[in-house]
Symmetry: C2
Subunit: 332 residues, 2 copies
């Protein structure tokens, strides 16, 4: 892996999160499915926002959160994603610049506003998301900076991109550019409904394009249309080079050829908000993987668990405590 | 106090906070005075923002925070302040609407952007603020909704308004409208440097216009140019009807004629961010004062302490836990 300026380059939706506390009645009233993500149009976003409580805004986006986590670990990250040239687009860009992430994608001068994800956090710390994709729909193959892709050890893609044809083309173009340069490609399945919408293509992707797959339990069950985690595990084994399957409080299971690791979750005093837990796990895992521990997948998984534990212990999907401080003692 | 739809109406700068962690070197590098607020222009705001870490955005503004705290206690609040018709202005308005606060001020269609307060929170949980007033400079006497003022038991003004002539006129107009209707006027001194900039006018204000004064230790020392808290206390006594002086971990002292109360601070497990502590104290105090406890100032002070303790236990200046839940047991 020579000539690599970046450990990981993420490609995903560039989104500002709007986080608010909500009760279960709110989730029911708006016919939401708790713990999942739904796509909404601009009018629905306005209507829903008007019914939400007082909120905080912070940069989000699944792959973007992972790259932010990687940077917080001390890794070199880059990100491709589309914002508009508006105030919230400026917030997103600032937060990438501030953590030293290379973000070459020019903002859109016209068209829909910067994407927003309206996140309702219920008292059980579960988050339910409604995303207005806004300027993200402008992301296409033209935005795929092949030079940056080929300068990254791993190209990390979020499954959410599959929801738009243009972004899907960007996804494939990025994957091809990475493999041409002998780099690896990683995919996060993002959401069980997202998997359900695109099962056949995802199965083909995993088989032909993906080296490192991240999925949580619901997502991997959905991918293989099976009922138990063990069935999913048997299916995914050998389907791609490495699969890292997260199971919330049960920790994670990592598969690679004959290798299997079952790694515990880190203890958390109080779970406040699970938004971004999976993104953070991928950040820790990929940091370890691209920084000398590719042969020690259990160590990568443990770094993922530590990052996820930090994220769920506060409101919001990006680290409050620098992750490199949390892993300083185990990363000698 | 009949015909009062509102417990308190606040008049202040309508600001979106941009909160970031910073180290002491950052504070020194930018020649900031820790714990205080400085006014900055648009260029400085851009330059400073570019050097700040990853941030979160949330509605702020001193008087606006107090009204948000009052609403969280279960009180009826209103707010007068100027945003622009832009994305951050929309965020500020949403957060007022979402908590049921009456906010009649129309947004500016032209001119500078919605105000931002760049807040650097150091590891000691102290906050240092740099404010770009933006659209707030459009606030003038024309925005003072006399009907709303006269429908409020207390009109609450932040000292920061004194920094702009137009806003100062709005301040005086509001105070006169309130007194004409037999209502009371409350002032928060906001910041020791703000007091230093306007000492003579503040002294006259306190003597002739203010019924309830809020100040922290630095501010009240600055107002009377004295060295010790006890000297300040002797000066303020009798200078206005009620003075509520906050002293961080030492609690607060409330003076009214011959009456003196020394009330302890509430215990906090870990102080995370002191932004908005004084605003929250005023919220709790005024909620008690306007809801049947005007004759029990020690009780008002205790409500203030409880509200302040909630605010300093997390990042950000508005309540995360509904304050009415925290005081349910003592507010029978």
């Amino acid at each position: 892996m020579s000539d690599t300026r970046f450990d990981v380059i993420g490609i995903g939706n560039a989104i500002v999160d709007v986080l608010s506390h909500a009760d279960d009645a709110f989730i029911e009233r708006h016919a939401m499915t708790k713990g999942t993500m739904a796509l909404i149009d601009a009018d629905t976003a306005d209507r829903l926002y008007a019914d939400m409580g007082s909120a905080i805004e912070c940069s989000g986006g699944s792959a973007a959160n992972t790259i932010a986590g990687l940077a917080s670990m001390g890794g070199q990250g880059a990100f491709i994603g589309k914002v508009k040239d508006d105030q919230l687009g400026g917030v997103f860009r600032h937060d990438m610049d501030a953590i030293g992430v290379h973000f070459p994608t020019a903002p859109a001068a016209q068209g829909p506003a910067t994407a927003r994800c309206l996140i309702s956090v219920t008292p059980d710390a579960e988050r339910t998301m409604n995303t207005f994709l806004g300027a993200c729909v402008e992301l296409g193959p033209a935005e795929v900076d092949a030079q940056a892709i080929q300068a990254a050890k791993v190209t990390y893609l979020e499954g959410y991109l599959w929801d738009k044809d243009e972004a899907k083309e960007a996804f494939i173009a990025a994957s091809q550019a990475a493999h041409e340069a002998g780099r690896e490609v990683s995919l996060s399945l993002s959401d069980p409904f997202c998997v359900d919408r695109h099962r056949e293509s995802f199965l083909e992707l995993v088989e032909h394009h993906v080296d490192i797959l991240f999925a949580n339990e619901d997502e991997i069950l959905s991918l293989y249309k099976v009922e138990t985690f063990d069935e999913a595990l048997q299916n995914v084994r050998g389907h791609c080079k490495i699969a890292a399957l997260t199971r919330s409080a049960k920790g994670s299971v990592v598969l690679s050829g004959d290798e299997v690791h079952v790694v515990d979750a880190e203890n958390v005093d109080k779970v406040i908000d699970t938004t971004g837990a999976g993104d953070a796990y991928a950040a820790g895992f990929l940091f370890g993987y691209t920084n000398g521990h590719a042969q020690d997948l259990a160590h990568c998984a443990r770094l993922g668990s530590i990052a996820a534990a930090e994220i769920i212990s506060h409101f919001g999907a990006r680290p409050e405590t620098p992750l490199n401080e949390l892993v300083a003692d185990i990363f000698g």
